[in-house]
Amino acid sequence: MSDLKLHHNRVAKHISSLPKSGIRDFFDLVNSMDNVISLGIGEPDFIAPWHIREATIYALERGHTSYTSNLGLLSLREEICNYLDKNYNLDFSADSECIVTVGVSEALDLILRAIINPGDEIIYHEPCYVSYESEIRMAHGIPVVVETKEEYDFSLYPDDLRTKITPKTKAIILNFPCNPTGATLSDDQLKEIAQIAIENDLIVITDEIYSELTYDGEHTSIATLPEMKDRTVFLHGFSKAYAMTGFRIGYACGPEDLIDAMMKIHQYSMLCASILAQEAALEALINGETEMLKMKDEYCERRNVIVKGLNEIGLKCFKPKGAFYVFPNITSTGLTSVEFATQLLNKKQVAVVPGTAFGQCGEGFVRCAYAASIDDIKIALKKIQEFCDELK
């Protein structure tokens, strides 16, 4: 430790310059406390359905402990393509347009590394999942933020996107339904964003990990719009809809040249996703719909409860159409996001995540995940009410 200074050059510049997550301290504080009611988890509170766990055990029993092909088990890729065809109206070839990855996180890393030449600009929208900016930087790209705004229910307003495009723009990352806002895109917005991508010859990377959890209306993938399939890389996985976060299993589907480039990186860095996770994913696709819809029904009920409760407290939030997050405005309390979350945690033992964890424009908001039981949500709401009353 004493020689830290001596070694100051050991870490690569683009890594040492990565923004250090200011939220880490807060997370450590929460995780060190007992008896916390948490609206802070970015994962389902359900356990993966038993049939999926059972299929994983069965795979182990049969001795499925080997590598798989780099792209992933063909049976899984075929099932993924069937699923996307049936549910998303997307037509991909299991042989050449689909790769199984270690979660969407790996898939995003692969596509960014596959397309970015140093200095290329990648546009993404904030508030967003914590890793986008850093993943772009790690791939030597330049992250360009477009802010989504409360007045548009945190949807991506196409005109805002347009102003960010430069000759260096290579791709846009979309994540709808969105973590942390729960925002979705309307059909008109999708069309306009697609138009912008076509006009400027951009690649669209669309992280649709929450797409099954769409409550009002149907989810539409931008990849289904005319002329979009050839420029869209569709990222998806099993973590959210099937409550399989710890399995670390996801996939990317897209044009053959891009999938092939992703495959090159994947084969040298990851080789393949865990065969057990792949077998579990296969089971989820074949037999998982009933349990998935049950969980979705519960999320929808919880959403209704929490949205009403927060608005009654005076923490204004729109009713999100997807994912399992609400993103209330807390400026009426006079506190910053971090102050609000820290004080709420210390005084009332309720955990929410400061909006600034998801980008600077998340200031004035907190993320409440309703991946918690309704009983816990009700208790949390009561405690948030007390907390806000005591501030007055």
């Binding site: 948490s38 914590v130 973590n179 409860v305």
Partner: protein, 160 residues
Amino acid sequence: MKDKILKILGRNARLSNAQIAERLDISEQEVSETIANLENDGIIKGYKTLINEDYLSEKKVKAMIYIKINPEKDKGFDHIASRLSKFPEVVSLYLVSGEFDLILEIHEKTLKDVGVFISSKLATIDGVVSTDTHFILKKYKELGTLLTKEEKYERLKVTP
């Protein structure tokens, strides 16, 4: 909306109308009217509590009885089934496919009571060809609910 309310009540029948209304984002009045209709139409037949009877002081002897029947002309199985289902000690009764025709679950105070039911009430019915009695030794799950205790798994309290 009927289906959604039924689904919720199926999970937890003790929820108040206000709680159900909140979950479905509809008015309390709509909930109470829908439930009243469901009760009147005989779709909701009742509300009961799932009890882990291991903790009750009064233990009952429970058995599943598989029954073979010679169906009656014109009346099929329904006549005998309806007679059997009127005994209060019969807690459930199903017509099934396969080797047997009816499966009957009976709860009695003692082993002897089960014997008496079989010999004097069941076997004496015209048309009952044979019975095969299986005493229940342990219940693991009832109506979708596990009766055994599961270890709770603690996940992280906050994740991005």
